[in-house]
Symmetry: C2
Amino acid sequence: MQIDLDLLFTWGAIAKEYKKGEVIFNENETANFYYQIVDGNVKMINSNDEGKEFTQGYFNSGDSFGEPPLFINETYPSIAIAFQESKIIKLSKEKFLKILDEYPNIQKQFLELMCKRIHSKAKSTTAIINQKPEFRIIAFLKAHKKVNSDKKEIVPFTRQEIANFTGLRVETVIRVFAKMSASNKVEIINHKIYY
Amino acid sequence: MQIDLDLLFTWGAIAKEYKKGEVIFNENETANFYYQIVDGNVKMINSNDEGKEFTQGYFNSGDSFGEPPLFINETYPSIAIAFQESKIIKLSKEKFLKILDEYPNIQKQFLELMCKRIHSKAKSTTAIINQKPEFRIIAFLKAHKKVNSDKKEIVPFTRQEIANFTGLRVETVIRVFAKMSASNKVEIINHKIYY
DNA sequence: CGGTTCCTTGAGGATGATCAACGAGGGTGG
DNA sequence: CCACCCTCGTTGATCATCCTCAAGGAACCG
């Protein structure tokens, strides 16, 4: 889902550059802007007391993120961080909500987007609860596979990232992949994972 | 969120009675209806191979449920079961989508509802990942506390239900509550939990 | 090259799951 | 009214699993 860039700029949006690792918004902060990535990518995470990280989601060029709190007067449940150097469009909450009022079609697309998010969150939560690390990891791999072909593709995530997504530890992820490789569920060539 | 009953009936909705434990829709089933509870309540769950249950959510009188797949052409990610004898309104997907088109205000309310769901799912997933059973349970208690008073209220869930929600086992839940009672984080009077 | 960042392996320990058995309460029908 | 049943709560013992900690090794990039 993305709103047309020209439209955004017409309504007074500005583009901002974020450095790698820069915080875009913080947990518990009030939501004042609509964000849409022009170029780069963003991760949303939570970290607990001991510094363990949990990744809520990755967002790439063209994606918007952090919308839900705009609609319901809630603070952000997670931190958003630029994962690489990124160019991101910001539009004030008021203007954003006005756009939705003016263009019912855009509103509908957002409704659909939110439904997709709920659906995928329901699936991933189920996978996480299901305990078995291998199960969690396979669910992650399936969810993030671009094409649905049978052909194995390289997995563009580090083991640490997969750990953060699945709520496991790096070492566990590594050991599970070793087992999965032995049973031909994935291929590992030169440390790179193919699924 | 609920659509006005008269409006629903005008559009051809019918009310159906479900017995306690009756399945309303199944996992992986195609979504053909909009459901709204008139009376009773419904739980959405997933169970894994070993029969362990995970509760995605409870829904009560006035709530609608199972909407996301209607918008995105996906199957249901979970099972919906009547938790008590319940009276539930069904409206065909086509008619439901037409209502949303005709009444932008209703569509907007659904958008807000979906945002609330995402928000609370983000919060509960974070709590679950956070590992520590006590942490998970406290998050559950907080999320389900009706009033936000300091006064302790009775917790209207069985330990099994809390276990299913938090992804823990009953015995673990019991032992954690025993500890929490000792440290005055909850009160337990006659097996009933107050938080 | 030299420094990051990422990956790997092993040993040991903590913790929640599992299994099994029993207790307690509440409702129902004879 | 009480005997029974059914659901819910409780407890202890044992086990499997993943986390932790520690120490290196490999790959990649300027």
